[in-house]
């Protein structure tokens, strides 16, 4: 696992935000490594543990608990559609299906449950997530770090074109 110098410096700087306990830097470090590598490998988990003077289990238990961390790669572009009540009332379920259709993602029966669905070419992945805190502009979604409000099914093809 190669950690570029710039990222390594960034990690060292982030650890200084927690002068009382390095362990507090676990979540920020996991975010940084997942942003860089796309997911958190066993090696990355072990690396973070060593960096913070912890056992790998102390880090693995975080990765398996917090929904945003993943142990396998997502698609090149990761789509999160909000599933919770106000968005569901605004049409989040058909919106998810429309995203899947246009992103060539095969949604198995009961696919709303799948943690991460990916297109065969690896270009897109999709996740039905809990409340994204924008219930007034339902339905909402995120593509990578970009946030979209009042997303109509018709707008999906246009939206996906931005993410090639």
């Amino acid at each position: 696992m190669e950690i570029p110098q710039e990222l390594s410096d960034h990690i060292d700087e982030v650890i200084t935000h927690y002068p009382v306990s390095k362990r507090s830097a676990a979540l920020p470090l996991l975010h940084l490594l997942q942003e860089h590598f796309g997911y958190l490998s066993d090696e990355a988990i072990t690396w973070v543990a060593a960096k913070l003077g912890l056992e790998p289990i102390n880090i693995l238990e975080l990765v398996t608990f917090y929904p945003m961390f993943r142990q396998s790669p997502a698609g090149k572009h990761h789509i999160r559609v909000c599933r919770t009540l106000s968005c569901a009332m605004g049409g989040a379920y058909p919106l998810l299906d429309t995203f899947c259709k246009h992103a060539s993602i095969e949604k198995p029966p009961h696919g709303h449950n799948a943690h991460l669905l990916k297109s065969a070419d690896g270009k897109y992945s999709i996740e039905f997530v809990e409340c994204l805190a924008s219930c007034g502009t339902a339905p909402v979604c995120m593509i990578n770090d970009d946030f979209y409000e009042a997303v109509s099914e018709e707008s999906v093809p246009e939206l996906l074109k931005k993410y090639q």
Partner: protein, 472 residues
């Protein structure tokens, strides 16, 4: 962030949201300073810290995160002459479904939050503070980090702030998608780099034993912003806004079946549910009637539109009068919503019209709580999942006689039997939906999936999500 452009409604009183959607407003410090920003910090730094705490107590400010606990009292738990370091955490997890207010402060007016935070840290003598922001706000985290850097460059943060001798560092800490991190002791655990398992009480407040086993104040974004305005106008003047014991303004977030959903800042208790839904949010869609309202985030007990509520109101002469009111006449404040058996919670108002299937709606909520239970306490870990499985089964046409009783029994056995308030949060929806709409549940249980609601079929999905349990 592409915010919905909207002008404030004439009935709004914008204090905290003064700069939200304001023309020409930008989140940088120059814009904030030009508008008189950080003047309250300068004022606060000339005050003895205990005087600021006293002003906040006088203001009657109640926490805006959900529980409505008096902020001054919380701060008062810090012992005078405390020798351990004191920490402050800003709860920017904004994770209660139906709530979307802090998002706009963070993205559009980060310096207001920082100013409120710095004043609050000075008041409680905290020298290290964190903004715990939900992981799903990556842009918000960047904006806050930028704002912190700007504040540092201007001497509002760091060593010897504005020559006062007070030192403070604030760091942004990103969560990673877990609702339970909004619970304050779960947040403390998460910030310590652990799973966010809420802590057993007592100690009842992190102010006694919090981050790194030190006294810690955890306040919501909106609460901390209010502190700036309390310093500006004085606690007594602030207390004149709103109603006794429900002071200040309240940010209300309205979503669901209204013509104009959105966020509104109103004097606490300054309007009724009917005024909010019909006057401010434009009423329901044409041809639709109000069916139900969840008034304070998804865990608040649901209110049925045609229900009559007996409430006791205190008269100016000290006597209490009992009156019967309908949903339209419920005043939106902490005490009134508690009096009708629900809560003001986090200010998230979810409106449902007569096209909504209540079993479907409860199932959506149950799925949420089953997904978000941290798994620490058996009644909640198992019960939230059972409730979600039962409502899913009802929707899928597999209902059985007695399902409604089982649901209620499961919910009753969670509430009050868990370490944290998540137990109540996940039990209250089931308890209230069944109590308020028993016919719909019984219909599913006996008719195997034929709802009386007109559009039930439309909402029903063949592939309902199955609750996935802890974390994933």
């Amino acid at each position: 962030m592409p915010a919905i452009a909207r002008t404030p409604h004439p009935r709004e009183r914008r204090i905290i949201f003064k700069n939200i959607d304001r023309e020409g407003w930008t989140p940088d410090i120059d814009c904030y300073l030009k508008d008189g920003g950080y003047e309250e910090l300068k004022k606060a730094l000339t005050m003895p810290p205990q005087d600021i705490v006293a002003e906040v107590k006088t203001s009657g400010l109640r926490g805006r995160g959900g529980a409505g606990f008096p902020c001054g009292a919380k701060w008062g738990f810090i012992r005078p002459g405390e020798t351990k370091p004191i920490y402050l955490i800003c709860n920017a997890d904004e994770s209660e479904p139906g709530t979307f207010k802090d998002r706009y402060i963070i993205h559009q007016d980060p310096h207001q939050l920082l100013e409120g935070m710095i004043i609050s840290c000075f008041a409680v003598n905290a020298r290290l503070a964190y903004i715990y922001i939900r992981g799903e706000f990556p842009l918000g985290a960047k904006i806050l980090e930028q704002a912190i850097q700007e504040a540092k460059n201007h001497g509002f943060l760091g060593k010897n702030i504005l020559g006062s001798g007070f030192d403070l560092e604030i760091y942004v800490h990103r969560g990673a998608g877990a609702y339970i991190c909004g619970e304050e002791t779960g947040m403390v655990e998460s910030l310590e780099g652990k799973r966010p398992y809420p802590r057993i009480k007592p100690p009842y407040f992190p102010a006694a034993l919090g981050l790194y086993m030190s006294p810690t104040i955890v306040n919501n974004v909106e609460t901390l912003c209010n502190v700036k305005h309390i310093v500006k106008m004085g606690g007594a003047e602030y207390a004149k806004i709103g109603r006794p014991n429900n002071t200040g303004t309240r940010l209300l977030c309205v979503s669901g079946d209204v013509q104009r959903p959105g966020y509104f800042e109103l004097e606490t208790g300054g309007l009724t549910m009917g005024e909010l839904i019909y006057d401010i949010c434009g009423g329901l869609r044409p041809g639709r009637k109000l069916k139900a309202v969840i008034p304070g985030g998804s865990s608040a007990k649901v209110l049925r539109a045609d229900e009559r509520y007996k409430i006791k109101t205190k008269q100016p002469d000290g006597t209490t009068v009992e009156e019967e009111i309908g949903i339209d006449d419920i005043r939106i404040d902490f005490d009134s919503l508690a009096a009708v058996g629900s809560m003001a919670g986090s200010g998230g108002v979810i409106v449902m019209d007569d096209s909504r299937d209540m079993v479907w709606a409860l199932n959506n909520i149950n799925d949420f709580y089953a997904h978000e239970s941290c798994g620490q306490c058996t009644p909640c870990r198992e019960g939230s999942l059972w409730m979600s499985k039962i409502t899913t089964r009802l929707l899928d046409g597999g209902g059985a006689d007695g399902d409604t009783d089982i649901l209620k029994s499961v919910a009753d056995n969670i509430a009050g039997r868990t370490i944290c308030a998540f137990g109540e949060a996940c039990a209250w929806p089931t308890q209230s939906f069944i109590a308020k709409f028993p016919d719909e549940f019984l219909a599913y249980a006996s008719k195997n999936g034929k709802s009386s609601s007109a559009e039930a079929a439309e909402h029903k999905s063949d592939d309902k999500p199955k609750a996935s349990g802890t974390g994933h």
